[in-house]
């Protein structure tokens, strides 16, 4: 009786699995077909033909309806405010859904994986492109950008900062750097990494802003409990998540001359246990121990930024825009007291490298409304919109150089002490510092976990921790071919 029951359960489970596999394989067939058509995407040709009759015009996809998936973000809020204007200008109807970041990429991945063409457009980060691009989920935008019948004469793609636009370019070969190859997305905005500090705390104590890592650690010693119990010198992220690695840590990692991966014998090989990497991690761990929050290991973007705003932390080593959210009028207790400086460098280092994060718009490879989707992308990454969003919606940092040159924008940002100067000093060295590969999230989350273990003293030395991390990273990318 029990055997029959178990048999029945097993058969049902197998049937369910077979059904799921069948459904997924239906999607896979579509993938193979679309893969073959990559070079001559029919939808692109149709879009070109449709536009080719009369040349570019904003209403060339009039009557179309598109769906857009947005992440809960200030960039999305700005887009939503302008959707009515976009519809009026183009005759394209837009349905949008907005999802909190915590679950946003689950939704995007599920939707793209179904290959149903829904949504037509979605917000993405550069690192996600490495996953979605490799899976053939996203549309190569190059044919759209290069066709003057599809792209307006005033779009001016050269106006984007090279490093930021380059973050959305990749040739899909693991190990090859970003910045070359097809365009997979167009940036809405981005962030660089710098040191935000409470200028009042520094002025009251007669402290100078640290320029080197050594000075930063020294100042942290002086700022321990600077305003009583519960206050501490410097906030940064520490949770067991890839997002811990990519801001200050990765930027400093590159400034020490370290690399995450290199290509050796056509394979990706991790170099996180190199002498440069170990030295940098030793200094970073020292910084955490001397100046970090006692709850560092649970800190995300939110806690780190909030502590600077609440006056609990004297400094924040994170995205420049994280600090600015605490400094707009009425935003936090320390509003008006926050200032910015370039990130501290290791002694002797002159060149400043900063990693970046960008939120970009990307097109679903399976979209059935590619011309309308392209017009949407063009409108919401265009010069006019970028300026409006930056001035009216405080949508920073804009990815277009023309906005940074705008006098009104300069005036607005000059109220943020040191912000413009820090940006100017950092932007030329700003680019994606990670090596692109589709297992980015797995390897960087492992990296964050190792960092936590090192801080917790679970290894005899930093070298031991990084050696173990190298093995795990090598294992994750073992099967990837770099040619």
């Amino acid at each position: 009786m029990r055997l029959t029951f178990k048999l029945a359960v097993s058969v049902k489970i197998v049937l369910v699995m077979c059904f799921s596999l069948f459904i997924v394989s239906c999607g896979k067939k579509e993938q193979d077909v679309s893969g073959k058509q990559a070079a001559t995407d029919e939808a692109v040709i149709q879009a070109q033909q449709a536009a080719g009759v009369n040349g570019f015009s904003w209403d060339m996809a009039k009557g179309a309806k598109i769906k857009v998936l947005l992440n809960q973000h200030m960039y999305a809020e700005a887009i939503i405010k302008k959707i009515a204007d976009f519809t009026q200008k183009t005759g394209i109807e837009v349905d949008y859904a907005i999802t909190p970041e915590e679950n946003y990429f689950d939704k995007v991945t599920t939707s793209l994986n179904s290959r149903s063409g829904d949504p037509d457009i979605f917000m993405t980060g550069a690192y996600q492109i490495w996953e979605y691009g490799a899976a053939n989920f996203i549309q190569d935008l190059t044919p759209f950008i290069e066709d003057s019948n599809l792209t307006g004469p005033d779009y001016d793609i050269a106006d984007f900062y090279e490093g930021v636009l380059g973050a959305c370019r990749w040739d899909l070969i693991p190990g090859h750097k970003t910045g070359a190859g097809p365009y997979w997305g167009l940036p809405l905005g981005f962030e660089i990494y710098s040191l935000a500090y409470n200028k009042k705390v520094f002025a009251d104590r007669g402290l100078a802003v640290p320029k080197t890592m050594e000075e930063l650690i020294e100042i942290c010693e002086k700022l321990k409990e600077f305003d009583g119990r519960g206050t501490y010198p410097i906030a940064f992220r520490g949770s067991r998540n890839w997002a811990t690695i990519h801001p200050g840590y990765m930027s400093t990692f590159a400034n020490y001359g370290a690399q995450d991966f290199v290509i050796e014998n056509c394979k990706l090989v991790s170099k996180v246990n190199s002498p440069e990497s170990v030295k940098m991690t030793e200094d970073w761990v020292k910084l955490i121990k001397v100046g970090g929050s006692p709850s560092w290991s649970s800190y995300t973007w939110y806690q780190a930024g909030a502590d600077l705003g609440a006056g609990k932390a004297a400094m924040l080593f994170d995205a420049d825009i994280n600090g600015i959210h605490q400094n707009w009028k009425g935003a936090s207790k320390e509003t008006g007291n926050i200032a910015w400086a370039v990130m501290p460098l290791p002694a002797g280092q002159q060149t400043l490298n900063s990693n970046l994060w960008t939120w970009a718009l990307a097109m679903n490879k399976s979209s059935k409304n590619k011309l309308a989707a392209w017009l949407f992308m063009q409108y919401f990454t265009g010069k006019e919109y970028a300026l409006w969003a930056s001035l009216e919606m405080k949508s920073v940092d804009p990815a277009r150089a023309s906005v940074w040159e705008n006098s009104e924008f300069k005036k607005m940002m000059s109220q943020q002490s040191g912000y413009l100067e820090t940006f100017k000093a950092t932007i030329n060295g700003t680019r994606i510092l990670f090596t692109p590969q589709p297992h980015f999230f797995e390897t960087t989350t492992e990296w964050a976990a190792t960092l936590q273990k090192i801080v917790a003293g679970q290894y005899d030395s930093v070298q031991q921790g990084m050696d173990e991390l190298k093995e795990k990273m090598d294992e994750a990318v073992e099967y990837l071919k770099t040619e």
Partner: protein, 275 residues
């Protein structure tokens, strides 16, 4: 005198402990309501003394779509429970009373809908919903919510039917009641406490469902579980606004629980006394 003193002391200790437990149990709700009146700037820097404001309520209830998400949630959760009751109660009766081949397998299959984590089955569901054109519709959500509500109602109510003596049904039939009158006039009143308890629990599970509404809707239909998270913005977590959303979201559950409290207590304790 000694006995009286003992009783008074016993009662005092009991009441004190109950009061302490009440404070412990209600404090999170008190805290949630308290922070609805705080601004973001005072969120981390104050505890009980701050400048109270209704800004968070204005922001959530008047300036966002939260109210519509609330209505959507009421529609899909209520109708999902109604469908489950209409289909599940006769199914539970059949499973309790009739003998047929594969009965236990069928009952187990219904229960097995609850086995797999929602995220595991979401991709095939997403694709089926896209093909059938029921993605982001009330019908689609009500249908998928049957995976949550139906097994619970069938399995709980089945137990209640099994506890009702079959002679009661036979007596009613002897008195000339047709089968549907026996079911509606005799059996349903007898299992009402269990049905009410199961329906309320189903409603709560449907109301709090997150993965299905997150991935199978969002453009036109949104539920409070998804909408509440929108207050985690890019600049900061708007804890005050999130607390308003959570406070409003618990209202239907609390009101329903209070309205049917009498049946609920009976329903939940009914099974405990059966021999």
């Amino acid at each position: 005198m000694n006995l009286k003193l003992k009783r008074i002391c016993g009662a005092s200790v009991r009441n004190t402990l109950l009061a302490l437990y009440a404070v412990f149990a209600l404090f999170p709700i008190f805290w949630m309501i308290l922070i609805t009146f705080k601004t973001d700037a005072e969120m981390y820097t104050t505890t009980f003394i701050f400048h109270p404001t209704l800004h968070n309520y204005e922001e959530v209830l008047l300036r966002t779509d939260y109210f519509w998400a609330f209505l959507d949630n009421i529609i899909v959760s209520s109708l999902a429970v109604v469908v489950s009751v209409l289909a599940g109660v006769p199914a539970a009766y059949a499973l309790a009373r009739y003998k047929f081949r594969g009965k236990e397998d069928l009952a187990f299959t219904i229960l097995s809908f609850k086995f797999a984590p929602e995220i595991l089955v979401i991709l095939p569901l997403f694709m089926i919903y896209q093909k059938l054109g029921i993605f982001d519709t009330y019908f689609g959500l009500i249908w998928v919510y049957q995976l949550i509500t139906m097994p619970l109602i069938i399995w709980v109510v089945r137990g209640y039917f099994e506890d009702v003596n079959i002679e009661i049904e036979q007596a009613a039939q002897l008195d000339g009641y047709p089968w549907y009158s026996v079911f509606l006039k005799i059996l349903l009143p007898l299992i009402k406490p269990g049905l009410v308890a199961a329906a309320l629990l189903s409603f709560i599970f449907a109301w709090n469902s997150f993965t299905f509404p997150l991935l199978l809707s969002g453009f036109k239909i949104e539920t409070v579980t998804v909408a509440s998270l929108k207050y985690i913005a890019s600049d900061t977590v708007h804890y005050g606004q999130m607390a308003v959303a959570a406070t409003v979201a618990v209202i239907p559950e609390v009101v329903l629980a209070l309205l049917i409290q009498k049946h609920l207590v009976r329903g939940l304790s009914f099974g405990a006394v059966k021999g």
